[in-house]
């Protein structure tokens, strides 16, 4: 009883400076918030410029100063046949290499997480190294091999290298999903008489589907935007980033800004779809658990 007032006193003593601390804490939060907003504006500044200048009618070849507003380039984004072809190549390349990288990478991730085999640690490390290798080295070495093997560079070699540099990202993404998943479910399936393949198709694959979808979006985004590796292995084939880089010397036409903005919107759409799929899959899982 006698101790109570002391405790009360101590509490008020602590509360008083805490009140002042509250104000500084608030100021600190505001400061951090302001810094964050500025950092994000910095990230978006060139994107804003790129979108804005898709509505510009440049006076000369260089789309560098604001002249006048026009929707012309949005109405005819494919006017330049070379540009249109380069975008078509990029999208086709992204689709083909994503499908291949996701197939190879997903299987590899399953083997690395679910199965204990000799050399697993080494394989794990081996998958990690391409991500730690500078792109310029990846591109130059791949070209070196194609030269030695006498392979003509073109669309096929682009697919090969795009699959090569995206596999690791697919493995990492799918692995993360697998590690969060209970291995006993697969064991249960096998105990209940499912074959190895049935367990894979009916249990493992549906459970890791969200990770696989995310990996596909990531691989497609990496592929469609790649300049460095492609610059070595494209041969005569133009991709969208290669076209833009090539155009910098004579001035990048505003149609490029239009198509890049469309591509950004397309990827946003994919991300949105991915989110929708993830939610639907989560709902499905919940329903199944509730049903069981």
């Amino acid at each position: 009883m006698a101790a109570t007032p002391t405790v009360g006193k101590a509490t008020t003593e602590i509360v008083a400076p805490a009140g002042a601390g509250d104000r500084t804490a608030k100021a600190r939060t505001w400061g951090l918030g302001l810094w964050s907003v500025l950092a994000i504006l910095f990230l978006f500044l060139p994107i804003g410029v790129a979108v804005l200048f898709s509505f510009n009618e440049p006076a000369g070849r260089f789309n560098f100063t604001w002249q006048e507003f026009t929707l012309d380039h949005w109405a005819h984004p494919f006017r330049d046949p070379d540009l249109a072809r380069s975008l078509k190549n990029s999208i086709l390349l992204a689709i083909v290499s994503t499908i291949m990288a996701v197939a190879l990478g997903t299987l590899l991730a399953i083997a690395l997480v679910r199965h204990k085999f000799r050399g697993r640690g080494a394989a794990d490390f081996f998958v990690f190294i391409p991500m730690a290798t500078p792109e310029v080295v990846l591109g130059a070495s791949a070209l070196g091999l194609f030269l030695v093997a006498g392979v003509n560079t073109g669309f096929a070699t682009l697919v090969i290298v795009h699959v090569m540099f995206t596999i690791s990202y697919v493995v990492v993404t799918v692995k993360a999903r697998l590690q969060g998943m209970d291995p006993h479910i697969e064991e249960a399936a096998r105990d209940l008489g499912a074959s190895e393949w049935q367990a894979f198709w009916r249990v493992t694959l549906p459970t890791i589907a969200p990770g696989v979808v995310s990996a596909a979006v990531l691989a497609a985004a990496l592929s469609v935007d790649d300049y460095v590796v492609s610059s070595f292995t494209a041969g005569q084939t133009q991709t969208f980033p290669l076209f833009i880089f090539g155009a910098t010397k004579q001035g990048v036409p505003p149609e490029v800004n239009v198509l890049a903005t469309m591509l950004l919107l397309g990827i946003l759409l994919l991300l949105g779809l991915n989110l929708g799929v993830q939610k639907a899959l989560a709902r499905r899982d919940k329903k199944r658990i509730a049903g069981a």
Binding site: W35, H115, A132, V136, G144, V163, I167, V228, A260
Partner: protein
């Protein structure tokens, strides 16, 4: 017995296609490149293997400025990104509340617009008589005839811009994971906020700082888009030299030797950095 053998092979069915792809199109090219770096000859007469280790010393002698620049630019850009990203990641992890997901999306979103076009946009923003350069002249940061484009500032800035999200995400992940009760414990034990930050938050976020710095430094050291578009030949980095030697000059041995020198630079950078940071091994940071 047969069944047992079959199931022991299954991990290999799964792993083999992907591993083979990486073996044939990543590892073998790299080994081939090692071989190429020891050839002598010229584009007309052809090249032959003479174990010319002098290719390396020659490349260092001839391209020392570019090598030093790659290390310097990448190092400075990494520090700039750390300074920009730490408060941002801290805010997203602890203060953003319901905006957390949105802010993370905002950090990744710039990735989804063509990197080359974003760099072209910086070219436009920093152009000689543009708004930004005029304002910098007004406040005297740029001299009357001075430029921003074709300077190391522009190239370093471009690199820092390009790889900033790579710093934010691992920092965010490690701050998010951090047990905040430890910070509370420190302040309860009479550490000031600043001391708690320096002695508790930062050390616990070290894996994130390390991972983020690697993710920025590695691609930055090999970058050549920024030096090509925002710099001049006076800002060229190792990446530019590798590209021109491989695609224009056709001096394959020099380009190959420079590739391995670049990998060497990166390993040295990582070693210095981990020694400074006191991180014992790479795996520790990865975990």
């Amino acid at each position: 017995m047969r069944l047992k053998n079959r199931s022991r092979l299954i991990p290999w069915y799964f792993a083999l296609p992907g591993l083979l792809w990486l073996l044939v199109f990543f590892l073998i090219p790299l080994l081939n490149q090692l071989n190429v770096s020891l050839l002598t000859g010229d584009p007309e007469a052809g090249y032959e293997l003479t174990w010319a280790f002098s290719n390396y010393t020659d490349a260092i002698r001839e391209y020392w400025p570019q090598i030093r620049r790659s290390l310097g630019y990448a190092g400075v850009a990494t520090v700039i990104d750390l300074i920009i990203a730490f408060p941002l990641a801290y805010f997203i992890a602890y203060r953003a509340g319901k905006w957390k997901g949105f802010l993370l999306l905002m950090v990744v979103l710039p990735f989804f617009m063509s990197q080359v076009l974003r760099t072209v946009s910086w070219q436009l923003l920093l152009t000689d008589n543009g708004w930004i350069v005029e304002r910098l002249r007004d406040v005297g940061l740029v001299s009357e005839k001075g430029r921003v484009l074709a300077t190391s500032t522009a190239v370093i800035g471009g690199i820092a811009y390009n790889y900033l999200p790579f710093m934010v995400l691992p920092l965010y992940a490690s701050l998010e994971r951090l047990d905040r009760r430890l910070i509370e414990a420190a302040t309860d034990l009479y550490a000031s906020r600043a001391v708690a930050f320096r002695r508790v938050t930062v050390p616990l976020a070290t894996p994130g700082i390390f991972a983020g710095s690697l993710l920025v430094f590695i691609p930055a050291a090999g970058d050549f888009i920024n030096a090509s578009l925002l710099g001049s030949s006076k800002q060229y980095m190792v990446g530019n030299v590798i590209q021109s030697n491989f695609l224009t000059v056709l001096d394959y041995p020099t380009a190959a030797a420079l590739s391995f020198l670049l990998i060497g630079i990166i390993l040295i950078g990582i070693a210095i950095y981990s020694a400074l940071l006191g991180t014992k091994t790479l795996t520790e940071a990865a975990g």
